[in-house]
């Protein structure tokens, strides 16, 4: 892969429509689940992009929900030489949609559309003085951070990952997705790593000279995102956030995923995001999905 940090990577364009993919694997990971789809025809997604997912069977089942596909960022993609692409997704069962996705068995089929949305910038695009990247992930929001970390490794760009979780039940994917030395953990209940918030770790890193040469990337629950955004804006540290919002389509049709912009009006998160700069938005708290 090209190592020129000044070239701006393009977002990957989605094939028109949705495609039926086979579930290759599904396994528990902490309190979460990681499942793998075989994407025979799709292009390689970029860090920060997402897919719309719906199980082929049992979607709009008992009680008529889930009905809409769910927007989920991939956690990893791999492609063996000559083989099809494998897309890993990290899910937490918090509602009818994520529950159905988490219950899919190998051999089942899942509708997939995407990849949608834009990608993370490279550190030098975000901050010309950047020596590397600081990745701050919370909960299932560690998934796009894992994809970005892999790309940075491939490009020879150093990064440090800070991952925060509430407790063991609300964690997963750590070893599978972040098996590296440059990862620090924070658990609110103290079950591993730092006891407290992941933002405590970020503040430690940004003390001293680090702030001048930092580029921060983050994805996680809205309260964490907003805390990271404020920490970075107060210190003039460039930061990109991958946001979530209730979203019906993923490709600009429904206008449901409105996020307030800093200068008034709204972003359509699916096509204007999901990656936004910290100073682009009024708050990271506005779009929390409760759809599950």
């Amino acid at each position: 892969m090209a190592a020129d940090p000044s070239s701006r990577p393009e977002r990957t364009r989605a094939p028109f429509g949705r495609r039926l993919c086979e579930v290759a694997e599904s396994r528990p990971s902490g309190g979460y689940r990681i499942f793998t789809l075989i994407d025979e025809t799709g292009p390689e997604p970029a860090p920060g992009q997402f897919f719309m997912l719906a199980a082929a069977e049992g979607w709009a089942g008992d009680g008529g929900r889930p009905y809409l596909p769910r927007a989920i960022s991939h956690a990893r993609f791999t492609r063996a030489a000559g083989g099809p692409m494998r897309l890993d997704f990290l899910v937490h069962d918090v509602g009818p949609g994520t529950s159905r996705l988490a219950s899919m068995e190998p051999g089942e089929k899942c509708w997939l559309a995407g990849p949608f949305g834009g990608r993370f910038s490279l550190p030098r695009q975000l901050n010309p003085q950047a020596h590397g990247a600081i990745l701050v992930g919370g909960g299932i929001g560690i998934a796009p951070m894992a994809v970005l970390r892999r790309e940075l490794v491939d490009r020879g760009i150093p990064s440090r990952s800070l991952l925060g979780f509430r407790d063991r039940e609300h964690s997963g994917g750590i070893d599978e997705l972040f098996g590296c030395e440059e990862t620090r953990l924070a658990f609110e209940d103290g079950s591993s790593g730092h006891q407290g918030y992941v933002t405590d770790l970020l503040l430690q890193l940004l003390e001293g000279d680090d702030a001048k040469s930092a580029a921060v990337y983050t994805c996680g629950p809205p309260a964490m995102l907003e805390a990271v955004r404020r920490i970075c804006l107060e210190r003039e540290v460039p930061v990109e956030l991958a946001l979530e919002s209730p979203m019906a389509c993923g490709y600009g049709a429904c206008f449901g995923c409105a996020v307030p912009k800093a200068d008034g009006g709204y972003l359509r998160l699916c096509i204007d995001g999901p990656v936004v700069r910290g100073d682009e938005i009024a708050s990271a708290m506005a779009g929390e999905p409760a759809v599950g």
């Binding site: 989605a14 049709a253 206008f255 009006g265 506005a286 779009g287």
Partner: protein, 308 residues
């Protein structure tokens, strides 16, 4: 056996088939940005209906704007858009590149603004027809135009002389008498009605004792509303001579054909586009088999049939 012919027309607009999109359910320009020219090469609809255009730019409603319901969803989007000038200058020419007939949806809260919208939109050669979104209150009377037969008639009568292009009235289902509103639109000179718009609905925040959507209530769409839509399409098509564009929870060719049998001349796919960007194409691809299965040799035969 040859495939049934799907070519048809709606109030003089020639169509390769009977599948439109519901206004505001498929942003063709955003879709092209996301999927590329494949969207133009395989455009999902035989006629494209724009999202509703207003006089001035609108940001839309504050979040949250969506809620998933059993077999459907509630939205309160609030008609975000570039306003008339922005639409005519930036969007319309690019929509014309798609190559299917264009119907432009417009809305205003007074006849004076409706007049400007219809005159300026109709003057553009790219536009085949105009849909009047009448789900907004008239600022002069305080009445929602689409809920009152006399208001609907008066509005269409005022706009009718402005253009010879088809005027289509989008009917709301939130009335006891949609057939009377449709008859009012017909008396005023409407060329067609399209129905149904969304059904007024609310959702309660699962974590707090308040309504979920940013503006308290919204409109229900998806298969959940299909039986309501079929009943209203049947009542309206029996009451008026002008054609009906039928929609409400269409997901496939079978459900599209249900609307034709209920009296619609053509159909529109709405919420299903969100689940499947190619939903319109799949409806079209499935129609020949769906027609044959019910014993029809052509779409025209199904359009001419009546339910027993």
């Amino acid at each position: 056996m040859a495939s049934p012919d799907l070519a048809t027309d709606i109030c003089g607009i020639e169509l390769t088939g009977p599948v439109l999109n519901g206004s505001g359910t498929f942003d063709a320009l955003a879709a092209r940005r996301v999927f590329g020219d494949a969207v133009v090469d395989e455009f999902p609809f035989d006629c494209y209906v724009s999202k509703t255009i207003t006089m001035h730019p609108r940001p839309g409603n504050p979040p949250y704007r969506l809620w998933e319901t059993p077999s459907g969803m509630i939205n309160s989007i609030g008609l975000p858009g570039p306003g008339l000038d922005g639409f005519l200058e930036r969007d319309l020419g690019r929509l014309a590149e798609i190559g299917v007939p264009l119907i432009v949806s417009v809305m205003a809260d007074q006849v004076e603004d409706f007049t400007v919208l219809v005159e300026r939109v109709a003057a553009r050669p790219e536009v085949a027809g105009i849909e009047l979104n009448v789900s907004c209150p008239n600022v002069h009377s305080g009445l929602i135009v689409g809920e009152q037969p006399a208001e609907a008639e008066a509005l269409v009568r005022a706009l009718r002389p402005l253009t010879e292009k088809p005027l289509i009235v989008k009917l709301t289902p939130n009335v006891a008498n949609p057939d009377e509103v449709a008859a009012g639109a017909e008396r005023g000179g409407a060329d067609a009605v399209s129905m149904i718009n969304t059904v007024k609905a609310a959702a309660i925040d699962p974590d707090a004792n308040r309504t979920w959507l940013g503006v308290g209530a919204g409109g229900l769409s998806g298969p959940a509303v299909r039986p309501i839509a079929l009943a209203q399409v049947r009542a309206v098509s029996a009451a008026v001579d002008i054609p009906v564009i039928g929609m409400g929870g269409i997901t496939d060719a079978e459900s599209a054909l249900e609307f034709i049998l209920a009296g619609a001349r053509v159909v529109a796919v709405g919420t299903e586009n969100f689940r499947n960007p190619r939903a319109g194409l799949e409806v079209t691809e499935g129609l020949p088999a769906a027609l044959r299965r019910r014993g029809f040799d052509s779409l025209a035969e199904a359009q001419a049939s009546t339910l027993s």
